[in-house]
Amino acid sequence: MAEPNIFEGKLFDGKSSASIPVSVILYPDRLVIHSKFQDVISGTQTWKTSLIKDYRQSDKEVVQVSYGEYPSQVLEITSTDFGVKFKPPVSGFDKLSYSIVHSGIAVIAFISAAVIGLFLLLYFFALPFLAEQSVSLVPKEYEIKMGESLYENMIKTEKVDVKRTKVANNFLKQIDFETDYPLQVTVVDSKIKNAFALPGGHIVVYTALLNDMKRYEELVALLGHEAGHVTQRHTTKHIFRSMSGYLLVSILFGDLSGITALVIDNANQIHQLSYSRTLETEADNVGYKTMVKNAVNPVGIISLFENLQKGNEAGNLIPEFLSTHPVTENRMKNISEKIKIEKPVYVDHAFLLGLFQQLKDTGKTDF
């Protein structure tokens, strides 16, 4: 057997903070501690390595060992040599974490790269997939109910144009959206050029946008687009996506300081914004399909975009529709290419035109 190693240390007996100078003999399975104050017999104790309660080693080679029932005794030894030779029983996760942390810069650098890679993989591939999957688990009835209560809360503070809402709903009913979501339009009196859809089927259109429409196809395009948001469950998807992104970020970076959280949170939001652009394009495509299916001239989409862009150039009102609908150029290009390639057949819809005129006229008499 190898020669025993002897170290100097300080012992705290768990009763007071007085430090007792001790010498410690390190054996493979135990520590034998001799007090330098008391006589050798009563001042000697043996700590079995396997029964050690807690063990800590900090940067300046201070090793702390706790032993015994509450209140534990604590042994402090300041020695690099002891730190190297002493093999305390650390269990499970602690052992793994400890051995990795103390395995040198190359290993840490490799792990850092692996973690960053893994995080990116999770964030950009695994999470979106999981979020998408969980959305399909949300029952339709629940979505409709949620949308209904959102709608009720929101509409309280808005000025609903009852007459035009009625006409707009008649217009909506003429179009086949190929969905069993209970679609419903509400026309709200506002100077803001905007329209949006709530989950479950409510579509809200602001009068400023209606007033600037030149042809009924634009309204069909708008309703088709918003209905696309509803049927593709975009709000729910968006909520799931940003929530899961937020969850991942806050779990992984939760222990870090406020500024870090802010930086990462912003990055997350910017990423969510690009996701919402993807959803807009998807809704455009659904709207386009609806128009083709109902044999309405899909050029309405293009002129709707132009209408919205005009609002943007005027600049006196905030075109909210556009602020969440950026890169309009790309979206216009996407639709015009589809029209060019597919050359969809369309007819004139006198009844829709009539309703559209009625919608515009009702607006005029109001002013």
């Binding site: 007071s16 201070v62 840490i108 992984l252 300081s257 930086v263």
Partner: protein, 313 residues
């Protein structure tokens, strides 16, 4: 009282903390999040073991398993509360739901402060001496309810008095063995300081914020008194507004330019700044601190505080 040379200091290194946290992140991902409480425990253990007082380090004895239990309980309780709020809102009783939730939080936050103080102090030692918190749950709830309601009635003005009362209560029940803590902050002075800080910050376009921060920090530290066998020793902060400015500005640069990766270095800088600016005015008998606290077993609260982000002490 003289500066005795007995002081706190932090010896951690950004590199060690980075290694620890990157390993934590890896294990959290690999275990699908289960490792989270162990990660938390490992960071607490590390930072405590690098904090020195009078030549000896602090030790955190809490375990990941204890924190996990607290976390699960916390998620269940909070989940139930949010669930019933949501249920009542959709069942057309948003007002009742909101009121009940507010009432619940008014009692729940002091409960979290109470239990996390109990837990964390019991798991913290210095030279084998356990810290302890002897506050009473009912009393801290009374303070919270009274403080919250008065703050609402006075449009937030009472908030300063509330904050000081809470601090007096929590610190007044804190001890390290037979060394008892107390806090002497006063609501009016705290209010005046914040009032001044608020306006000067606006007038100077935010520059004064660092000096305001320094005032608050110093007010927190300088009003702490330690009592051991009738011997009173108060703490003194040596932090300056310029020091806060340098700390925050450099931290911001470190974090932003590393996209958050180097934040352990920023954390270490902050801890060094906070601990290295505290000294004792007077002398404690560092060899004569006596173990006084019973063993305590309950982890609820420790991680609830993390979820709700309640800052303690």
């Amino acid at each position: 009282m003289q500066n005795s040379g007995q002081s706190l200091s932090f010896h951690g290194s950004g590199q060690k903390l980075f290694s620890l946290q990157i390993v934590n992140v890896l294990l959290i991902i690999v275990t699908l999040g289960i490792y989270y409480p162990w990660a938390r425990a490992s960071v607490l253990k590390y930072t405590f073991s690098e904090t020195d007082f009078g030549g000896s380090r602090f030790t955190f004895h809490g375990t990941g398993l204890e924190l996990l239990k607290g976390m699960i309980l916390g998620i269940l309780v909070l989940g139930a509360a949010y669930g019933s709020l949501y249920y009542l809102s959709t069942a057309h009783h948003p007002f009742i739901g909101g009121f009940l939730f507010f009432f619940f939080m008014m009692l729940f936050i002091p409960f979290i402060i109470h239990s996390s103080m109990r837990y964390r102090t019991s798991r913290t030692t210095w030279r084998g001496i356990h810290f302890g918190y002897r506050g009473d749950l009912k009393e801290i709830m009374n303070i919270s309810v009274k403080g919250t309601l008065l703050s609402i009635i006075t449009l937030g003005i009472y908030g300063a008095w509330f904050a000081m009362e809470l601090r007096r209560y929590v610190l007044g029940n804190l001890r390290m063995g037979n060394v008892e803590f107390s806090y002497n902050g006063d609501g009016f002075k705290f209010f005046r300081m914040n009032f001044k800080g608020y306006f000067f910050t606006i007038i100077t376009l935010g520059i004064y914020a660092f000096w305001w921060m320094k005032d608050i920090y110093n007010y927190y530290v300088n009003n702490i008194v330690l009592t051991q066998n009738g011997n009173e020793v108060s703490l003194r902060s040596t932090a300056s507004g310029g020091g806060f400015f340098k700390l925050m500005a450099v931290n911001l640069l470190i974090i932003v330019f590393s996209l958050g990766l180097a934040s352990p270095w920023a954390t270490v800088r902050t801890l060094k700044f906070i601990f290295n600016h505290v000294t004792l005015m007077g002398e404690l008998d560092l060899d004569g601190i006596i173990q006084t606290e019973e063993n305590y077993k309950n982890a609820l609260g420790e991680d609830l505080a993390g979820i709700l982000d309640v800052g303690i002490v």
